[in-house]
Amino acid sequence: MSIEAKTEFKPKIVAFCCNWCSYAGADLAGSSRLGYPADVKIIRVPCSCRVNPMFILRAFEKGADGVILCGCHPGDCHYSTGNYYARRRMTLLFSMLDYLGVEQGRTRVEWVSAAEGMKFSATMNEFVEKIYSLGENVRLGDLRCRN
């Protein structure tokens, strides 16, 4: 199942954004008219720490080609330490996915503050481009969802 076989590859990308920083960052990107690809679907979460590994796997299962998690910069967490825990968890999870043979680059963590509309837009553009280059996610999807 290569990209060539498909007429056009439209990636599905899930972005988990923390309510306090990154979601506001996305908002700012929007109100500043900084574009980011429509392939990105944002899911707002109370804190980056709310995202458990199952969320990420679930997104892949149901057909996501890339998953990105955005939270407050370390030190700026609304709940003071949430993103520090998230950082450890995601590091371990990404390492495990790499170990299982899932292409690097399908997952990413980026810290985006409420003031960084520019960064948000740039990150998303970059990430989408990366996913385009990796092509469809075949290793972590459920075959039943592919029709």
Binding site: L57, E61, T81, Y84, S95, R139
Partner: protein, 319 residues
């Protein structure tokens, strides 16, 4: 072994313990089962031999709810699990009387069969050898060739927690603990994926790995929930098994003592320890060496952090 039985009888009759948690002679040479003994008479069926690999720590969760003290026999590596359960307040230290037993590596009947031995009638432990009597002739093999996987990476002969010790232990490690994990890390993504796909497609979702795991002591597992479709039970090669095993390993990351029970019980012989050990290796490398169950107090690596932890991007940077 007689020493263990005698001592257990003593404690039972004196009333210092209400029951004994040990292993009971099986009906085949290699299948003793975990059992409770509540009388000196019942202890006649007690056995402790090379096939007593089962880690009894988890049974202590139920035993903690019972009246009176339970004498529990723990091998050196089992004590890590015991400590970890203690740390998570799943068991009651005051309800246990721990007798640390000597261990020089535990055997795996599967490893014997792998050597082409069929129809096992009797197994005799003779030092570094195993004499096996079968319906198709007798065989002698090296004791070490029939060890459980976990014994090849033995954590050492020291008991981490005990009330008294009986018997001598011997370290049996003859392999580098992380060599298998490191070997897989060296592969390219296609090879890694092919390897795990082949192993995991054998999974029958029997949940034996979860139910035997001393770290999996949740009263209701997320995979038993009917509320959302993670409890799929479907046996499809595409995703279900990966989801289950990644999440299970993740849930015990930082708490897994690498006791190896998951790999021991898997009916399909899936090397499940490779998941747990990968997390342990990463934790050691990224957050400093950590041995779950070494004590009952230290903070686990996933419930802790430092300000300058590595960023998740390190996975890509390491290559």
């Amino acid at each position: 072994m007689q020493e263990l039985v005698n001592h257990a009888k003593e404690l039972l009759t004196s009333g210092s313990v209400a029951r004994v948690l040990g292993w009971k002679t099986g009906d085949l040479p290699y299948n003793p089962e975990p059992a409770y003994f509540d009388s000196a008479e019942a202890l006649e069926e007690f056995v402790y031999n090379g096939f007593c690999g089962a880690n009894l720590s988890k049974y202590m969760i139920e035993a903690s709810k019972l009246e009176g003290k339970t004498l529990i026999f723990l091998k050196p590596c089992d004590t890590y699990s015991f400590n970890q359960l203690l740390k998570e307040h799943r068991i009651d230290r005051d309800k246990a009387w721990i007798v640390g037993v000597g261990c020089h590596g535990k055997l795996d009947a599967e490893q014997i069969r792998c050597q082409g031995i069929k129809g096992i009638e009797a197994v005799t432990e003779a030092g570094a050898q195993l004499q096996i009597q079968t319906f198709y002739g007798d065989r002698t093999i090296d004791y070490s060739s029939a060890l459980l996987e976990r014994c090849h990476v033995c954590k050492g002969k020291e008991h981490q927690i005990y009330d008294e010790l009986i018997g001598e232990s011997e370290e049996t490690n003859d392999e580098e603990r992380f060599s298998q994990v490191a070997g897989i890390e060296q592969l390219n993504p296609e090879e890694k994926f092919a390897f795990f796909q082949k192993e995991l497609s054998k999974c029958i979702r029997c949940n034996a790995c979860r139910n035997v795991c001393p770290a999996c002591s949740c009263r209701k597992c997320v995979f038993d929930s009917n509320k959302f479709d993670s409890a799929q039970k479907a046996n499809v090669d595409s995703f279900e098994e990966k989801m289950f095993h990644i999440i299970r390993a993740f849930h015990v990351a930082g708490r897994c003592t690498d006791c190896g029970e998951c790999s021991r019980v898997c009916p399909q012989g899936i090397p499940l320890h490779l998941f747990n050990r990968k997390f342990i290796k990463d934790i050691d490398e990224l957050y400093g060496e950590f041995k779950a169950g070494e004590d009952a107090e230290a903070k686990g690596p996933l419930t802790d952090f430092t300000f300058d932890d590595a960023e998740p991007g390190i996975v890509a940077e390491r290559g």
